[in-house]
């Protein structure tokens, strides 16, 4: 779309130019005022279309006004050289308006088109720059000036006395007919045009946005351009162009006048703005820093990285020697990424200022350190500090400190920018913190999955197969991984071991201890040990392998098929139920939990119990997940319910009893979330005969 538009413009420009060229060949000299008029109109038209074409290119580059000005300067210089060169080449042809020499016509047309092209470019640049960074649309004044440019040029061609188209006697007739004084009309128009140029030349707002370096180069460029334009203006009329088209010659003259005036004003304004250039540079640096930081807010995940970025940016923004951040914690504050100051000193300064209320949680403060340093015995390294609170939703999270060593203290301006910056920084930090927390949460959830996985892999995939014993084993995990564990070990053809254990705590730690415990039990179960001997050994091994605050409760029992006995010991674990003929007994032989005590006390207090098994006798092992299940009123399921369910259903199979218990538990807890893992192992003895 834009491209076709472009082509159209260049087509128009070329068509008009070609038309003009043909016209020039057919009528090398304007023998009548009509021809002159046509000639001038064609000049203006080509000028117009070339400007339209060139403007599009300039639009792309307007963000670099200096480059544009330099380009137009080069073109101005080029025109100056062409004038000098051709004046020297064609000195003898001066005033030979009647010369119809084809070479001369071709040459003058070439020069004229270079002029039109170059002038179009120069003029477009002037226009663009005049419009650049203007708040109000200046096109009215500019267009008026354009109209007067054309009027002045035309009047010069037709009315001016020093017009060199002397062959046109009719020109005089024009003015006579109009009854006007030639000089008067031309001069009036000229003065109006110059005043309009002056008006438009004050559009120099764009200078403000240049940095100091650019302003200095602009000063030089302005002088050079001003000089060039002045030379072009004051140099004699360029006969070659004047012969070709007087209007073009005058336009050239006017554009140069515009150049002289505009660049004089640019020069003056730049000179005026030079002292403040640094402040403006800093303001724009600040803006860029803020922009950087707000971009950072959406990228940075790591809070430490953000601290670094904040202090390094704050250093720039506040033009200070040292910066650091303090972040509040439970015990006071931490110092982060101190720049231009040691962390110990930064801590010392912050402590003194925070503890003696030199800073405020709501406002930025400028603190003159001279007296404070003396009074509080601080190092005499810093002279002035700006301390801005880092607050989000009116909650103070810490402070941003910026400090200067020199005698050049901080001012209102500095504290304002530090404060604004601190506002940004606080939000950025809060965002990063929230992000980190949500990542941590995700990580924890992953960890739970791993722990859950470990737990499932550790539990036996199948129960031992003995004709005399019905075995039901069930494990129901809570949302959060607990440390329940059960297992069976085949000792020999007549005996198997059963263990149920509960590791204290939750999560991955509990899961790992559980894995450890499984390893210990499986190894020890292969030795011919009594339950008590085995548990004592387990406790000994755990001594070096378990954290002080962790412990394991367990029941280990051995079923002897030949002897028809169940022998077990209990190390701090929940009771064992022994059920016969619909009546249950809660068995709690003495025993301390594993890992609680590593002295003889453990062994001395551990009792072993042997039960003679009869037909349909039931042994129930469970973890406290069952009796500690809670309902919505925070009431516990308790032992009594459990006991009565087993007793009432003792005629059922081990599997069925297990199901009854679990149904009852889930009916009791209803919508309450399961607090702990539930493990339930039921053994039912069957006499074979």
């Amino acid at each position: 779309m834009i491209k076709t538009h472009h082509n159209r413009k260049v087509e128009y420009a070329i068509i008009v130019s070609v038309l003009f060229f043909v016209f020039k060949i057919v009528f090398p000299i304007y023998s009548s005022s009509i021809l002159l008029l046509v000639n001038e109109i064609l000049v203006l038209l080509s000028f117009y279309f070339w400007i339209r074409y060139v403007s599009d290119f300039i639009n792309f580059r307007i963000s670099k006004p200096l480059t544009l000005i330099i380009n137009s300067g080069i073109l101005t210089a080029l025109l100056f050289f062409i004038i000098s060169l051709s004046s020297w080449l064609f000195t003898e042809t001066q005033n030979s308006v009647t010369d119809t020499n084809l070479i001369y016509i071709l040459f003058s047309s070439l020069i004229a088109f270079i002029f039109i092209g170059a002038l179009s470019y120069i003029f477009s640049v002037y226009k663009k720059i005049c419009f650049y960074r203007q708040k109000k649309d200046p096109s009215f004044y500019f267009n008026t000036m354009l109209v007067f440019f054309v009027l002045t040029s035309l009047s010069a061609s037709f009315l001016s006395p020093d017009n060199s188209v002397e062959s046109l006697k009719t020109v005089d007739n024009f003015s006579i007919i109009l009854g006007l004084n030639n000089d008067f009309v031309y001069n009036t128009l000229y003065i109006v045009t110059v005043s309009l140029i002056l008006m438009n030349s004050f559009r120099v707002a764009w200078i403000t946005f240049l940095n100091k370096k650019q302003k200095i180069s602009l000063l030089v460029i302005a002088i050079v351009l001003e000089t060039l334009c002045t030379i072009n203006v004051v140099s004699e009329n360029f006969t070659l162009i004047n012969n070709f088209s007087p209007t073009l010659n005058h336009l050239f003259n006017l554009v140069n006048v515009y150049g002289v005036i505009y660049f004089s004003i640019v020069f003056i304004f730049t000179l005026i703005q030079l002292p403040t250039a640094e402040i403006i540079d800093r303001k724009s640096d600040e803006l860029t820093s803020f922009k950087d930081l707000s971009e950072l807010m959406s990228q940075v995940i790591d809070v430490e990285e953000l601290y670094e970025k904040i202090t390094s940016t704050a250093l720039k923004v506040s033009n200070s020697d040292s910066t650091w951040i303090t972040v509040n914690n439970d015990k006071g504050f931490d110092v982060h990424s101190a720049k231009g100051i040691g962390i110990v000193d930064a801590k010392l300064f912050s402590e003194t200022l925070l503890n003696n209320n030199f800073v405020s949680t709501s406002n930025v403060e400028i603190i003159d350190l001279e007296n404070i340093s003396r009074n509080y015995n601080l190092p005499q390294t810093l002279n002035s500090i700006v301390c801005a609170p880092l607050s989000v939703y009116n909650k103070n999270k810490g402070y941003l400190f910026t400090a200067r060593k020199s005698n050049y203290s901080f001012g209102e301006e500095d504290s304002k920018s530090v404060s604004t910056f601190a506002g940004f920084a606080a939000v950025a930090l809060e965002n990063a913190k929230l992000l980190e927390e949500s990542i941590e949460k995700e990580r924890l959830e992953k960890e739970l999955d791993v722990a859950r996985d470990v737990q499932y892999k550790i539990l036996p995939q199948e129960t031992p197969n003995f004709e005399n014993v019905e075995i039901s084993a069930l494990f129901t995990p809570a949302f959060e991984v607990g440390g329940d564990y059960y297992d069976f070990f085949n000792i020999d053809e007549n005996r198997f071991g059963v263990v149920i254990a509960d590791v204290s705590g939750k999560g991955i730690q509990a899961a790992f201890i559980m894995a450890e415990v499984k390893g210990i039990f499986s190894t020890l179960s292969k030795l011919d040990l009594t339950p008590k001997e085995l548990l004592v050994k387990v406790n000994q091994i755990l001594k070096d392998n378990i954290d002080k605050k962790n412990f394991v409760t367990a029941v280990y029992g051995i079923v002897d098929i030949r002897k028809q006995t169940f022998t077990f010991s209990r190390a701090g674990h929940s009771p064992v139920y022994y059920t016969r003929d619909k009546s249950s007994e809660k068995l709690i032989p003495s025993g301390i939990g594993l890992g609680l005590n590593f002295t003889n006390q453990f062994e001395n207090n551990l009792k072993e119990m042997e039960i003679k098994l009869n037909n349909n006798d039931i042994i129930t092992l469970f973890t406290d997940g069952i009796n500690e299940s809670i309902n919505e009123h925070l009431e516990e399921f308790g032992y009594e319910k459990l006991e009565s369910i087993i007793s009432d259903n003792s005629h059922l199979s081990a599997k069925e009893i297990s199901n009854k218990i679990m149904t009852s538990v889930s009916l009791f807890t209803k919508d309450s979330s399961q607090r702990d893992d539930i493990t339930l192992v039921i053994l039912k003895w069957k006499n074979l005969n």
């Binding site: 959060e480 440390g483 509960d502 590791v503 204290s504 705590g505 939750k506 999560g507 954290d547 002080k548 605050k549 962790n550 412990f551 409760t553 190390a571 701090g572 674990h573 929940s574 009771p575 709690i588 003495s590 025993g591 301390i592 939990g593 609680l596 005590n597 006390q601 207090n605 406290d624 500690e628 925070l634 516990e636 607090r675 702990d676």
Partner: protein, 117 residues
Amino acid sequence: MADFNVEKREVGAVSILDVKGFLDAHTAPNLENAFNGLIEDKEYKVVVNFNELQYISSAGLGVFMAYVETMRENNGDIKFANLKEEVYNIFDLLGFPLLYEFFKSEEKAIEKYNQVK
């Protein structure tokens, strides 16, 4: 879930920790902080008053085990007082009464400390 709260009091040379509510894996760190504070202040004679404790899980029990050694090494102890029956039963099953001293009331526990002196 339900809350947990721990407050410190001092009766002579003995520090009393009043525990309230539900002590489980989530709330255990609160109690750990309280014990850390005691050790920092070199207060090793501790009585934990369980009067208002509703529930204790294995992770909660672990906290006492983690700190009792330090207290005992410094001529102190952790003594348990005022336990509700359900809470005491949990300690009992684990064999805690064989390793720790349990008292019906806070005063008796303090008395025990003072006798030793």
